[in-house]
Symmetry: C2
Subunit: 324 residues, 2 copies
């Protein structure tokens, strides 16, 4: 079995070994830039881990797995235009470094490139993989639209929020695992269980991100906390706080969001105080743990010797340590 580091390395080397079309440079520079900013290569690594559960011959899964990474980066390039985000992974975003047009068109080519890699799936499973990928890609776009819709709304329910992050973020993790399993010719029940495992893991990840942004240790979190509060982002925490707040607390939250406080520090402290008084940290931790535990249940049910699942379990354990 391959270690996580070996799989990540395999992905990096495969991408570097691809003969990239290079002309016109205006189109391909932003793609290289975006793909080189790195990231954890989470999706292709999960795909290869899932494939590796069932077989030691994972080579057929490498390029399709790369397609998931290129697709993910495509969504980031276009989302950053729509969200007017200037910084990603400590570097300028594509539309900021160049301009919107370059980011739109480079993103389009990345989506096509993702399909090129997906299309290298073995002929016997190609139709099934395409269906999975098409459905997932569509859901990710729908999730982004819901996210934008929610920004301009006063109130978003917990259910609506969970539905949005499931589409925008989680299903792609589920699909990554399922893709790897399908290419390994895993039984349909197992590949479905891995989809559920990945999707639920993704939900736990997202809620944990919301938690860390408000309550994380900046040294471990890797960036300053409080960013979501500063920008009035409708996170799980804020949505839950509105749900549980009494009239007075709601009024406070409304005034804070409307911009009552002069300093950002004061704003963050005040919101955190409301969160603490409502037990929001506890609620969010419990919700993330529910998803995590439900994810692990699905992994347990996959009909493969437990020791082969160690890589995937480790993924979930790292998450668990960060939540609690």
């Amino acid at each position: 079995m391959y270690s996580r580091e070996e799989l990540r390395d395999l992905i990096e080397k495969s991408y570097a070994g691809q003969a990239l079309h290079k002309k016109p440079a205006e189109l391909y520079q932003p793609i290289s830039y975006m793909m080189q900013t790195g990231g954890k290569r989470l999706r292709p690594v999960l795909a290869l881990m899932a494939c590796n559960l069932f077989t030691d011959n994972i080579k057929d899964a490498v390029l399709p797995a790369l397609g998931l990474e290129v697709f993910h980066n495509f969504t980031l390039v276009h989302d950053d235009i729509m969200d007017k985000a200037d910084i990603r992974r400590n570097k300028e975003t594509v539309h900021k470094k160049w301009d919107d047009n370059r980011a739109i068109l480079s993103g389009d080519v990345m989506l096509i490139q993702a399909y090129e890699y997906i299309a290298t799936s073995p002929a016997g499973v190609l139709t099934q993989i395409l269906k999975l990928f098409n459905n997932t890609a569509r859901q990710v776009c729908e999730g982004q639209q819901y996210d934008m819709n929610y920004e301009s709304r006063d109130k978003v329910s917990e259910e609506e929020y969970l539905f949005m992050i499931e589409n925008k973020t989680s299903v792609l993790l589920g699909a990554s695992l399922q893709l790897g399993a399908i290419i390994a010719r895993a039984p349909e029940r197992d590949s479905g269980l891995l989809y559920d495992f990945g999707t639920k893991l993704g939900m736990a990840f997202q809620i944990q991100d919301d938690l860390l942004d408000s309550f994380g240790d900046p040294d471990i979190f890797g960036k300053e906390t409080g960013g979501d509060i500063k920008s009035n982002k409708k996170t799980y925490l804020l949505i839950k706080a509105y749900e549980l707040a009494n009239a007075k607390q709601k009024d406070s939250l409304n005034r804070i969001i409307a911009g009552e406080f002069n300093t950002e520090k004061e704003k963050i402290q005040k919101v955190l105080a409301i969160y603490e008084s409502l037990g929001i940290r506890h609620h969010a931790t419990r919700k993330a743990n529910e998803y995590l535990s439900s994810a692990l249940d699905k992994l347990d049910m996959v009909d493969i010797a437990s020791e082969r699942k160690s890589n995937l379990k480790e993924f979930a354990d790292v998450l668990k340590d960060r939540i609690n």
Copy 2:
């Protein structure tokens, strides 16, 4: 054999019969709007005609052909953002009617939807069709980037211009015909010849469009002439004029483009006068006819009884009548 009208009707009915995902409405409204603005459905009709050359059973080609139409419309939605175009087919463009974000994300979903339709190709030819479509989609994006590059350049050669329109416009026509032929299980040589036929026809179309914009009868052309001259667009005509102009004529063109004239009418008249003195209309007509004749040669070489080619020949004849 199906008539052109029957094929167009088949495309319209098939699209109307597709259960479109409808939520979130913010994402799907612009797609319906764009697809309903009509157009000639040129690409899917060509695909079905090519399929119909070899077989009377064209049903396997209908949805993949629809994918070509959705793809074409995706490129228009994104190009209109990049080109800041407000009007298309006498209606507001998507980004103008809504906003850039809606146009970016709806366009993304249209590209995914195009792949959904392409993926319905029969399993036996799916890999081949995907390769054709992926290559073509990438070329179309590259063509759009070259087009944008040329806008900001002083000088573009005839060769560069032809390379740009081949990628941006023509290869999709070629790929449409080849897709239909592949689904009909046509011999490889024939499907390749149809690709060449379509690509060369596309070149003739584009040069003809440039001609009509300057020299066309507005009643037949369907819109006012002179638009390209007004906007200093680097058309085949302008590029050829710069190539053939003497120092004095070049200087005139430079001053006109820099904005020497007060009225648009005067500007158009002056440029047309230079075109006429250089025989540009003749040069462009000859070039379009060369492509047209070369296209027809390719069609002739397709190993199918001549009478089955009548639909495709008619297409080319209509073009010929418009050029000459």
